[in-house]
């Protein structure tokens, strides 16, 4: 496939992306573009391939065909940690944090320095690191809890901690998989506020089921159905689309 000379101005451009698991196409010939400083939300019924798209971008799943370009660099052939170092951050659906370590240590480990074995061995907790950790902790509402063991945080706080762990890496593209699942109403509001704040200077891709939340944050919405795009555009446009109402919103 000739994908050599189709560079774009988009931060992320996904073209003709296909992945099949034993013949079942979880993502089928998908084209999707993400602009700079955009909050792009992917919605769709269960099994539509939303999480798979995020997995493909961050290298967790290998594509069968197609290309994913980030700043015109091909990601499909890179290994996971290389993709991260290019500036793509990924938050998982279930909060995945280091439960045995403190909040501070969780953030410190995510600080983008000393990522080789030798680098980790000689890493110094200097002023830069401390300032940055406090800054991020403040953003994700955890500045009072830096010395607390992460396992003892509430579910919502764990989600914020993981977002904080991504923020400290300062990624250009941040991917969030159901960031408000299991959160209380007030936590949801705080998270929406947080997302609007952290999107300054970066793009965010969100997979979410909560329509109210999507309305609050989305600049652009893509509706996936059976691995294909059903509809794309502003929230209002998507909500009015009869196809979308039929397969997803209607139920």
């Amino acid at each position: 496939m000739n994908t050599l000379n189709n560079n774009t101005d988009f931060l992320l451009s996904i073209e003709n992306l296909t992945v099949s698991f034993d013949g079942f196409k979880a993502v089928d010939d998908l084209n999707l573009y993400v602009d700079e400083n955009e909050i792009h939300v992917i919605i769709g019924p269960n099994g539509a391939g939303k999480t798979t798209v995020l997995d493909l971008i961050c290298g967790r799943t290998r594509s069968t065909d197609g290309s994913i370009k980030f700043r015109n660099k091909e990601l499909t052939s890179m290994r996971e940690h290389e993709i991260v170092r290019e500036g793509v951050g990924r938050k998982f659906q279930n909060p995945s944090i280091y439960e045995d370590l403190t909040v501070f240590e969780n953030l410190e480990l995510s600080f983008p320095r000393g990522r080789s074995v030798w680098g980790a061995l000689t890493f110094q907790r200097d002023q830069d690191v401390k300032i940055r950790v406090h800054e991020i902790a403040e953003m994700v509402f955890l500045n009072e809890l830096l010395d607390k063991q992460a396992a003892l945080l509430s579910h919502g706080q764990k989600q914020w901690l993981e977002i904080g762990m991504l923020l400290i890496q300062d990624p250009e593209l941040l991917m969030l998989d159901e960031p408000v699942a299991g959160m209380s109403v007030s936590e949801r509001k705080q998270t929406a506020k947080l997302l609007n704040e952290i999107t300054k200077g970066r793009s965010v891709m969100v997979v979410e089921h909560d329509m109210k939340f999507v309305e609050d944050i989305a600049h652009r919405v893509t509706v996936l159905h059976q691995g294909k795009i059903l509809s794309e555009g502003s929230m209002a446009k998507v909500q009015a689309d009869p196809n979308v109402i039929d397969v997803y919103l209607g139920h």
């Binding site: 940690h81 170092r85 998982f92 439960e99 480990l109 000689t122």
Partner: protein, 388 residues
């Protein structure tokens, strides 16, 4: 918990000091040279157990083949010592004088090429570190780059232990077979069988063990130490934070392998022989039990666990030889069911708060807050960390 900035907390410093006092003062005074030599033999297993704390306890890589590395180190040392004791004069009655006796018995007439370099002590000392490190690197790279982990990794290491044992026994002419390499006498002309030599070797062994403990402490206190725990708990999160997880695993596996090999070399020196019975599946699993009994999260716990299990083994098998294996099995079940964090876990729950109070009493002025109460359950790792 104290700040990670300092290399050691007062508790940890105290722990190292107590172990040093035990090794260097109490035991030599309390035991005759026969018992002390036996104790020194137990201590060589502690090297393996400390390696397992880093590899298994901290990073979650269960290796059931640490005997392989113990054996590699031991055999490297034994090959050197054997060559030194196989002078043409000492082996004049053989049909080919100047080669190790077991080779002569197996109709081998020239020293095999891979034995040649072991004429040099410098090469041998390097080989004790390099050979197991390279071997561990190859296994680690082959497994961890392909994301083989957990039970599969444990089974493969077990298979490697079995393969190496079979290889050693099968290649009798080159390795001494099932008897191993025996009848070792001198190191650079210095007789290692005398009581004086045994005392010196015991102290060298103890010093090396304290060195290994300090080295482990440096690793655990660095960011790498916290990264090991992170890999154990959330491997994917570490990977998606920009780290190459396989490199971290390879490193810690090699690190543990080198520790084991140092233990193996000291074993050969103190006990005077090396055989495949320290390489295979059974010794490898026993070493994991030493580590588990001591507490797999604590390097000091591993040392005490090793000593305790081996002391029990010797005592019980002297009195009730047929019951010992049941005792060992029962001990392992007790560790898993009753005290999953081993001796160090018990110490943390019952003794550490007392010790902490005593230790911090002298320094109260400079401390703003009292030590936090030990948390249970979720706090296991935190408390175990303080134990080190």
């Amino acid at each position: 918990m104290t700040s990670n900035k300092s290399f050691m907390s007062r508790q940890e410093l105290l722990g190292i000091l107590v172990v040093s006092a035990l090794l260097f003062i109490v035991m030599p005074l309390a035991m005759d040279i026969f018992r002390l030599n036996l104790f020194g033999k137990y201590l060589t297993y502690a090297f393996v157990a400390v390696g397992l704390v880093l590899c298994w306890g901290k990073c979650g890589i269960l290796s059931l083949g640490q005997g392989v590395f113990f054996g590699l180190g031991g055999y490297c040392m034994a090959m050197y010592l054997k060559l030194e004791s196989s002078t043409p004069e000492a082996t004049a009655i053989q049909s080919t004088p100047g080669i190790p006796d077991f080779m002569d018995w197996n109709q081998i007439t020239a020293l095999p090429w891979f034995w040649e370099p072991f004429n040099s002590l410098t090469f041998t000392l390097l080989a004790i570190i390099v050979v197991p490190a390279v071997f561990a690197f190859i296994i680690g790279a082959a497994m961890f780059k392909r994301r083989v982990g957990g039970v599969y990794f444990a089974i493969i290491t077990q298979a490697i232990a079995a393969i190496l044992t079979i290889l050693i026994i099968g290649q009798q002419g080159y390795t001494g077979g099932v008897n191993g390499i025996t009848d070792l006498r001198t190191l650079k002309g210095w007789d290692i069988r005398t009581d004086d030599a045994k005392y010196i070797l015991y102290y060298v062994n103890g010093a090396l063990l304290v060195g290994v403990l300090l080295l482990s402490q440096i690793v655990l206190k660095s960011k790498l130490g916290r990264l090991l725990v992170a890999v154990r708990d959330q491997e994917d999160r570490v990977r998606f934070s920009g780290y190459d997880v396989s490199n971290i695993k390879i490193f810690v596996f090699c690190f543990a392998a080198v520790f084991s090999a140092i233990g193996g070399a000291m074993f050969t020196l103190q006990v005077g022989f090396m055989s495949p019975s320290f390489v295979g599946i059974v010794p490898s699993i026993e070493m994991v039990i030493f580590c588990a009994v001591g507490g797999r999260l604590s390097i000091l716990g591993a040392v005490y666990g090793t000593l305790l299990v081996n002391w029990a083994k010797t005592t019980f098998s002297e009195t009730f030889p047929e019951l010992w294996l049941f005792g060992l099995g029962g001990l392992f079940i007790a560790v898993v069911l009753v005290f999953p964090n081993g001796l160090s876990g018990l110490y943390q729950s019952y003794l550490a708060p007392l010790v902490d109070r005593v230790v911090s009493a002298g320094k109260r002025n400079s401390r703003t807050d009292a030590a936090p109460p030990p948390s249970s359950g979720f706090g296991a790792e935190t408390t175990a960390k303080a134990a080190e």
